[in-house]
Every structure is written in structure tokens, then in C-alpha cells.
């Protein structure tokens, strides 16, 4: 991949500062700070209801979430000022925790529309059907997906594992600069977890960053993060490396919460 040659820059790819956000009048994020440099993989862990999914959705621009304070810089732009589609076209990708079914719309059609929207925004020519299919077939091999999958409707009648695989396939096709994967590991058996992790790992490069939102450290055995954060009460209360995830698995979250309260 050509962008592996780009050296990590000093300014972070993503900088979240003092982010407050609410949904249906309830404040969920309460002053969250996060810096992700190019090439880094971060894992965000935390108890249920701590704001992990809210963070993912706010970064992707879901209209139901209201940002009440704080800033999010992505590359050189104010991410929060962009429509969701513009974020995607600039290389932001959200892997959904619950991928949505779209009856009657073929996977291949969505993939092509998404890729060409991004290429068009980047001033590139749209790919023709032949080049596009070659590209998709390559990525499908990585994800160990069957050809028949292309003509199926988006996520319709997919098993939980198929849906997650489909998310990663979309990511591989779109080659984002920043990917946030929201509980991509939940509901996967061991084999599927391996395939999904392999897929994510093929995307790791010096110019690209990945944020993994997860409950379980087992994903981190396959995709080894540079940093592990604990998100609780709408803020990041502790940051460490891979060993923090192992400790969390052994001891739970209470000790971190107590430490933070002290």
C-alpha cells in the first residue's frame, strides 16, 4: 500500500477535546479527551453504559446525538462540522455494532456506490465494473466470503458473524484513514474472530489508525493495540498499554473506578 511510506506526523490524526454529548436529553459523554496519531491502534474498553457506543456514533455523525461542548479535529478539519457522508468520504469509517439490513439493495451495489462516492470526493475517477469487481473479489478472499454474497441484499438474513464480516469487507474496500470498530468482536465464534482480526490487520499501516471499541480483551490477542483506554462515566479515566487489558480481564473495572475517584 502506497501510504505506508507516509511517516507518522506530529499532529494527531484525531484529537477529541472536552467532548460532551447527549442523546434524548441524557448526557452520556462528559468531557472526553482522546488523541490518536497516525499508524496507532487504540482500544477503548469500559463497563456497560459508559459511553463507548455514543463516542462511536458521535464521531460518525449520527443526527440523534447532540454535541453540547468540546471539539473533534480530524486531519485538518472540524469533524463535527461535516455531514456523516462527508466524514466517510474523507476517510472516516465506523464499523457498526449492529449493522443495518437494507432489503432489495445488493451488497455489490452498496459497495460500489460507497467506493465511488469516496473516489469522486477525492477527485479520482469512478472505478468501472471490471476493476471494481476485481478489487472486491480480492478483499472477499481475505474475509473468506463466498461470491454469492455479492448479490445478496445488504445484511438481510445474515447471521451475526456474517454481518460483522461484511462490515470489515466494506472497510477493506473503502480503505479508510481512521476506522472506529464498535464491538466488532461481539457475537463472533473463534474462527470468525480470527478472520475478522486478520482482515483488520491487513489494513494496519503507518498512515492509518484504528480505534477498537470492545468489551473483551480476547480481540486484543489478535489485533495488538498500542494503547488501551478505560472509558467510564463519559470520560477516559485510565490509559495504559496491552497489559492494562489483561489486568482488566483479571480484576474487572472496580479498581480503576476507585482509583479514578480517589
Amino acid at each position: 500500500m502506497s501510504d505506508t511510506a507516509i511517516p507518522p506526523t506530529v499532529t494527531p490524526l484525531l484529537e477529541v477535546a472536552g467532548l460532551h454529548a447527549r442523546i434524548k436529553g441524557r448526557e452520556v459523554l462528559k468531557g472526553l479527551n482522546l488523541r490518536v496519531a497516525r499508524g496507532e491502534v487504540h482500544a477503548i474498553m469500559g463497563p456497560n453504559g459508559s459511553g463507548k457506543s455514543t463516542l462511536s456514533q458521535v464521531l460518525a455523525g449520527r443526527p440523534e446525538y447532540e454535541v453540547t461542548a468540546g471539539t473533534v479535529r480530524y486531519e485538518d478539519t472540524d469533524l463535527l462540522g461535516l455531514a456523516p457522508e462527508d466524514r466517510a468520504r474523507r476517510g472516516f469509517f465506523l464499523g457498526f455494532q449492529y449493522p443495518v439490513e437494507i432489503p432489495g439493495v445488493n451488497n455489490v451495489y452498496l459497495l460500489k456506490a460507497a467506493l465511488n462516492a469516496k473516489r469522486k470526493a477525492g477527485g479520482l475517477q469512478e472505478l468501472d465494473a471490471f476493476d471494481f469487481l476485481n478489487l472486491v473479489r480480492d478483499k472477499m478472499r481475505v474475509m473468506k466470503m463466498d461470491e454469492s454474497f455479492l448479490s445478496r441484499a445488504v445484511n438481510e438474513g445474515f447471521s451475526g458473524g456474517e454481518k460483522k464480516r461484511n462490515e470489515i469487507l466494506q472497510m477493506l474496500v473503502l480503505e479508510p484513514t481512521l476506522a472506529v470498530l464498535d464491538e466488532t468482536d461481539s457475537g463472533l465464534d473463534i474462527d470468525a474472530l480470527k478472520v475478522v482480526s486478520d482482515g483488520v490487520n491487513t489494513l494496519r499501516s503507518a498512515g492509518r489508525s484504528i480505534v477498537l471499541v470492545t468489551h473483551y480483551q480476547r480481540l486484543l490477542e489478535h489485533i495488538v493495540p498500542d494503547y488501551v483506554h478505560v472509558l467510564a462515566g463519559g470520560r477516559i479515566i485510565k490509559t495504559g498499554d496491552r497489559s492494562l487489558a489483561l489486568e482488566l480481564e483479571r480484576r474487572g473495572y472496580d479498581w480503576v473506578l476507585e482509583e479514578a475517584a480517589a
Partner: protein
């Protein structure tokens, strides 16, 4: 939640692209309806006596009937005496012999509508009959069709050239007594199309009629009759548009299809009459009776409709399955936006043995629109082994519209199979966000979701028109992206 609902609603603002008026001198009869007006229409058309007698019989019966109000639609009373029942572009007084004699303004009108009638620009593989207000102005590819033995002409012409076929089939599927609007149509209809495909002939091209209402304060009452003889095969499509006007205009058409043994008729409609503005001002009242009779064994009639226009739609294309092993199909997409109301569906009447019917109806409502599916499946005692499958799905966009389903099922044979599936879903804020998060713009995302929802119906349209229908749907649901 509310902000995103508004986004969705702003996405479905509608622009009507066919709302222009053609400035052309017209021969229009004064408003009002009585036996003299009917005699005038019949005289204008130079009809044989049997037609006038038939019209008067229909009129007298109509006077004994009352306007039906069982449909889930609401509108102020219609003053049938305030409508003009005949309007024709003046030049047409002596019907043009060829396109060269057709008023250039008319040709221009059809060009603007994307229906070129000129020899050089014709739609490849599609023969068109163009009906403007009360008269047919041109029919293309007549010679080529005649070579195959297919009769395709305006109804008025058919009354002159093939009176025996008209007398034999007219009113045999939809009798004059059938319903209020059909009786009115029988009395005053002015033009429409006639198709006859003889025994064993496969019609070499798609047939199509394009209906255009232009004059103000007129009603459009067209009549279409399609007969497919033994083993014949024909695919026919109608399209309709009208100018933007603040008054409501009445369109009460009747379509009759007759399929003899082993015959196949595919009838597709892309209905885009002016729907009225966003406050419900103006628009066409589309009160239409369409019915096909599978008269012969193994005959097959398939209705496909894409309904995007009209202020009010009241329409139930139906199949009477008389012949043993005959098949009836109904595929429908009905889109209502703003203040539009649609009460549409089908009737499948199983009379013959082993008759089969399928119904796929998709309703899409946006704005303050109300959309109803009303369908009847009736299995008569002799319909041994009859089968029906019905699926009707409704998609709601925004919180102010409504979708309703009224299925009637009557089974009087214990060995019949009837299945009914129905779903109602709100266009997902989830779906919309998912696609936008993949880089697809909001408007394209809505179109993608709606097209996906309608896929089962679109794939039934003739290829030439599937694209048109898809574009039409996009226009109907088009609006500024917030």
C-alpha cells in the same frame, strides 16, 4: 430524534416536472352533462348507432347510481355539471394522415415529456399511441405492427375500422353497470387505445399509450380495450401526465383486457398525473376501473403499476380467472407524498380450476399522505386447487403519513390455498444513517432504500420502462437535503 425526522421530511419534497401547459387552440364543449352532450361526442367521433345507443344506456344507468364513498379517501363533492366532457386540439378536426400533419406544438409537447413521436427519434422497439385530452394525436409503428397482424390504434379509429371487434368485446369485462365511474366513462369516453393481437401472434414490440391532460376544466375519460386471441402475447404500457392547475380534474378511465386460451397480456402503468401542490391544492382525481378476464384455459394476465401522481387514486386492476389453469398477477408500487391519497389494490376472482394468482403491493407514504392497500381474493366453489399468494408492504417516511391495509379474503372451496403477508415499516433512520456513514449522500440513500423496497415490482416492468420508473420515483421523493 425530531431533528432527523425533519431531515427525512425535507428529503421528500416533490417537484413535478410535467406541469407545463401547451398553448394550443382547442375545440371544447361547454361544461355540463346531458344526452345532447353524449350525442355530440358520438357525432364528433362519427360513431355507428350501436355506440350511441350503448353510451345512452350507460348514461341512463349512471343517473340512477350514487358516487361510491367506501374508499379511504376524502374530497369535496364533485360537480359533474361543471366539467367539460370534450376537448380536442383544433387542427385535429380533420384527423392528420401522417405525423407531418400533426401540429408541431403537439409534437413539441410530447418531446418535452420525453415521448418523441418523430420518425427519427422514436423509442426503439416501442410503438406509441399519444392521446391529448379527448383525442389520439398520433400512433407510431402502425405499419410494422400491421405486418404482424397486430391492430394498435386509437379507440376512435377502431370504432371506424373494426366495429365488429368493438361491438363484440366492449363492455364484456367491465359492464356499463359495473360501478359509478365506469358507467360515467361508458357514457362519455372520448378516446383511448385499442389492441388486437390475433391467434398465435407474439406482438413484435412493446405497445404504449401516453395520456396527456392539457385543457382546463375538462375531464379525461379514456377507454382501453386489449384482446389477445388464442396463444397471442402482448406487453402494453401506459403513461400519464397533466399540467399544474389549482383546480382538481377528474380522470375516470376504463381498461378492459381479454385473454383467450394460452394468451398472455402484460399491462404496465406508470401513472404520474399532477399530484397537487404540497398543501393539497389542485391535482387529478384518478378514479379508474381496470379489469382483465382470463377467459381461456392457461391464459395469463399480469398488471404492474407504478403510481406516483394524482391527488387521489382509486384504482383496483383486477383479474377474473375463468379459464382453468389461468394466472393473474398484480405488482404495484404506490407512492404518496404531501396531501396525496391513494386507495389502491386488486381483486383476484378465482372461477376456474387450478387458477393461480399473486399480489405484490408496495406502498410508500411521505408528508401528510394516506396510502391504503385494498385487495380482494375470492375463490368460488368450482375453483378446485386455486392458489393465491399476497404480500403487501408499507413504508412510511416521517411521522405525519399513514398506511392502511384492507384485505378481503373469501374462500368457498376447501381445497384452495390462500396466503397473505403484510408488513409496515418506517423508513429507517437507521438505514439512512448506515448508508450515509458509507459516504452515500442523504438523497441517494433515500432513493437506494426506496428502490430496494420496490425491487420486486420494478423487475416486472418492461426493461425500457424500469429505468424511467426508477427515475420517476427519485423525482417524486426529491427535495433539498438539509
Amino acid at each position: 430524534m425530531s431533528s432527523s425526522t425533519q431531515d427525512l421530511e425535507s428529503l421528500v419534497g416533490q417537484k413535478y416536472r410535467h406541469g407545463f401547459v401547451t398553448d394550443i387552440e382547442a375545440d371544447t364543449v361547454a361544461p355540463g352533462l346531458n344526452e345532447d352532450v353524449i350525442a355530440f361526442i358520438s357525432r364528433k367521433k362519427g360513431e355507428p348507432q350501436f355506440m350511441l345507443d350503448w353510451r345512452l344506456k350507460a348514461f341512463r344507468h349512471w343517473q340512477t347510481m350514487r358516487e361510491p364513498h367506501w374508499a379511504h379517501v376524502a374530497y369535496p363533492p364533485i360537480d359533474y355539471q361543471a366539467i367539460s366532457y370534450y376537448s380536442a386540439p383544433k387542427q385535429n378536426a380533420n384527423a392528420p394522415k401522417s405525423l407531418d400533419e400533426v401540429d408541431p406544438k403537439l409534437l413539441e409537447t410530447y418531446d418535452k415529456l420525453g415521448i418523441p413521436l418523430h420518425e427519427r427519434a422514436r423509442l426503439a422497439g416501442v410503438a406509441v399511441d399519444a392521446v391529448f385530452d379527448s383525442v389520439s394525436v398520433a400512433t407510431t409503428f402502425k405499419d410494422r405492427l400491421a405486418k404482424a397482424g397486430v391492430i394498435f390504434c386509437s379507440f376512435s379509429e377502431a370504432v371506424q375500422t373494426h366495429p365488429e371487434l368493438i361491438e363484440r368485446y366492449l363492455g364484456t369485462v367491465v359492464p356499463i353497470t359495473d360501478n359509478y365511474f365506469a358507467a360515467l366513462n361508458s357514457a362519455v369516453f372520448t378516446d383511448g387505445s385499442f389492441v388486437y393481437v390475433p391467434r398465435g401472434v407474439r406482438c413484435p414490440m412493446e405497445l404504449s399509450t401516453y395520456f396527456r391532460i392539457n385543457a382546463a376544466n375538462t375531464g379525461q375519460f379514456e377507454r382501453t380495450l386489449i384482446v389477445a386471441a388464442e396463444g397471442a402475447h402482448v406487453s402494453y404500457l401506459e403513461g400519464c401526465t397533466a399540467p399544474k392547475r389549482d383546480e382538481n380534474q377528474l380522470h375516470a378511465a376504463v381498461v378492459e383486457l381479454v385473454a383467450l386460451d394460452d394468451a398472455y397480456i402484460k399491462y404496465s402503468t406508470v401513472q404520474n398525473w399532477y399530484p397537487g401542490d404540497e398543501n393539497g391544492l389542485g391535482g387529478i382525481y384518478n378514479f379508474v376501473t381496470k379489469r382483465g378476464e382470463c377467459r381461456g384455459a392457461r391464459s395469463h394476465i399480469s398488471w404492474t403499476q407504478v403510481e406516483t401522481g394524482s391527488a387521489i387514486t382509486w384504482k383496483y386492476p383486477s383479474c377474473v380467472l375463468l379459464g382453468d389453469h389461468s394466472v393473474g398477477e398484480f405488482y404495484s408500487v404506490a407512492v404518496t407524498n404531501h396531501r396525496q391519497q391513494a386507495d389502491t389494490g386488486t381483486k383476484m376472482i378465482h372461477v376456474g380450476r387450478n387458477t393461480k394468482s399473486s399480489i405484490v403491493a408496495k406502498g410508500i407514504s411521505a408528508g401528510h399522505a394516506q396510502s391504503s392497500y385494498r385487495g380482494m381474493v375470492s375463490v368460488l366453489p368450482g375453483a378446485e386447487g386455486a392458489r393465491n399468494f399476497t404480500q403487501c408492504d408499507s413504508l412510511l417516511m416521517g411521522g405525519n403519513c399513514g398506511a392502511h391495509t384492507f384485505p378481503y379474503v373469501e374462500v368457498r372451496n376447501p381445497r384452495a390455498t390462500v396466503e397473505h403477508e403484510a408488513t409496515t415499516s418506517r423508513i429507517g433512520e437507521d438505514q439512512l444513517f448506515y448508508l450515509r456513514a458509507r459516504g452515500i449522500g442523504a438523497e441517494d440513500a433515500v432513493n437506494m432504500i426506496v428502490s430496494g423496497f420496490c425491487k420486486a415490482v420494478f423487475k416486472e416492468l418492461p426493461m425500457e420502462f424500469a429505468v424511467e420508473a426508477q427515475n420517476l420515483l427519485a423525482v417524486s421523493l426529491e427535495g433539498a437535503v438539509g
